[in-house]
Symmetry: C2
Subunit: 318 residues, 2 copies
């Protein structure tokens, strides 16, 4: 292995190319980036940190780790209806991290930067005696006053989710050998590389009364909408959309339905709307799973319309 | 010890009060904060991460750790001439972190929020099996196109620094028992609690041709200006301002002059200007230490005007 590069050389070699073409990054040579949302727009700003063997597995391919770190933040922008602009990245890595790892890591970022039209604006690169840790702050722009919020759900609204539920948590279980995946490792793929629903978020502006991304688990996240909006949310288990792989897992072990409802890491959008929405929006399946009522909390109804008690309110890391 | 609070409860109890009074934080209940720089302004955005026993000592008082994490980022805003608006904070803490620690940590943030007129906009709170790690993204506002940059130094400009040099690095050495501090532990205090030069940064807009904050060490940081501006920077050792405590340390061990020139963690501003500046600006001492010439790199001249060779180009963590 070649002699280790210093911090500045690493930034120049690996990270500067990620900032190319974004004037506000100032080529990563200044103390801060300079950005403006443009007339009639404001910025949405979100920060998510990921720790090796807590939020991803340290043995995961570095490009997938990079892309997941970016995507969980993009998912927050999607939930606000914002379009990505730029991000800052703090890489907090063990001294043993070699350049080969960094090269693949950066390749993953470049891939997703192109896919989601976002650029690196700045950041920090430090060493840790602990596990690899990544902290991303993503910045998006949205028309002033039009961002999707969690607080607008009203009694009478319908409750929707995009895509399918539970694949992320089942994917982690599959990677641990606790759940059988399908032949294409669909579940594992959903855990390793979530799909931020940016186009859907944009399409929901003016339609959704409340929205968020499903990261803590469907029931816990709907609980956030219920609390912030001051409403009760009622969902029906049988309407919760599942992938064929998730259905197969549940058919084998019916207790996994709880993982579907409370598992995290889906990064789909959950939202409420006063009107009936089409079954697809912005190329994503959209499923009505319940309704908003007066009151508080989240009620889950089984096939017979009876409230179900869940042993966990949602997924917790650790 | 009481039962540990979950992530949401911790955020509500400890961090929500830090976001009070900042509408853009949305009470920390949404997926992202919403912010706008206002007409004629843009945002300066900077991210710095700190790791226990790398960038601070894990046994340091939690309020000082919190304030240092915020201040090193504020120092970057100062270097751009920006005024603080808000910040996001990722706390990446060991599971053993108790509420007493968090309480003091948050108290430190509240103190500095009031002093520097900045509010918490959002963030993340996760656990790590490794050392306590903090990642702060600070956001400031500056008149569009007027931010201080590193690239504007021109031959003929004078080179200035604020305050005194070397106290931060000597302070760390003092805390390790390698250097004698004064009776007030001035050096240690400068390491533990740097003073971001925000008012000075604002005052330098329209005056300084290039600026940055001294975090990597005076010579290394002037090297950044030299490289980004495409100029040579010449400074004279005897003009470099030192605190009485630093002078006393150097009087005892003359080799410490190298620490003054290359030690990090000063968080003073270094800048160039085409004109002569007063000895104080925005209540801070400002000292001319050299000049800008055509060429490249940084040349340090001794008392006799002879170039000095330094064994280290600047301070490196690890």
């Amino acid at each position: 292995m070649a002699a280790a590069l210093g911090e500045f050389d690493r930034i120049a070699k690996f990270f500067k190319p990620l900032a190319a073409g974004f004037p506000g990054s100032l080529g990563l040579t200044d103390d801060a980036a300079l950005i403006s949302p443009g007339d009639g727009h404001e910025f949405a700003v979100t920060t998510d940190a990921l720790v090796a063997d807590v939020h991803f597995r340290s043995q995961d391919p570095p490009d997938l780790i990079a892309r997941k770190a970016l995507r969980v933040n993009l998912s927050d922008l999607a939930a606000m209806g914002a379009e990505p602009v730029c991000y800052t990245l703090a890489t907090i890595l063990p001294p043993s991290t070699d350049e080969a790892w960094l090269e693949v890591f950066v390749r993953g970022l470049a891939l997703d930067q192109a896919e989601f039209r976002i650029k690196l604006a700045g950041g920090d690169s430090v060493k840790t005696p602990g596990p690899a840790t990544l902290s991303v702050t993503a910045i998006g722009r949205v028309e002033t006053g039009r961002a999707l919020r969690r607080s607008g759900a009203r009694p009478g609204d319908r409750v929707y989710v995009s895509g399918t539920m539970g694949d992320g948590a089942l994917g982690l279980a599959a990677l641990k050998g606790r759940v059988a995946d399908d032949g294409n490792a669909t579940l594992a793929g959903r855990y390793l590389l979530p799909q931020p629903r940016l186009a859907l978020g944009r399409a929901l502006i003016g339609k959704a009364s409340a929205a968020l991304d499903v990261s803590d688990g469907l029931v816990a996240d709907l609980g956030h909408i219920a609390e912030t909006s001051g409403v009760r949310i009622v969902i029906e288990i049988e309407r919760v959309p599942m992938s064929p792989a998730a259905k197969a897992a549940v058919a084998t072990d019916s207790r996994l339905i709880e993982t579907i409802l409370t598992g995290g890491d889906d990064y789909e959008l959950a939202f409420t709307a006063p009107m009936e929405l089409p079954e697809r929006l912005a190329d994503v399946a959209v499923t009505c799973i319940g309704r908003v009522e007066a009151g508080g909390g989240v009620t889950v109804l089984d096939r017979q319309g009876r409230p179900v008690t869940l042993s966990a309110g949602g997924y917790r890391h650790f």
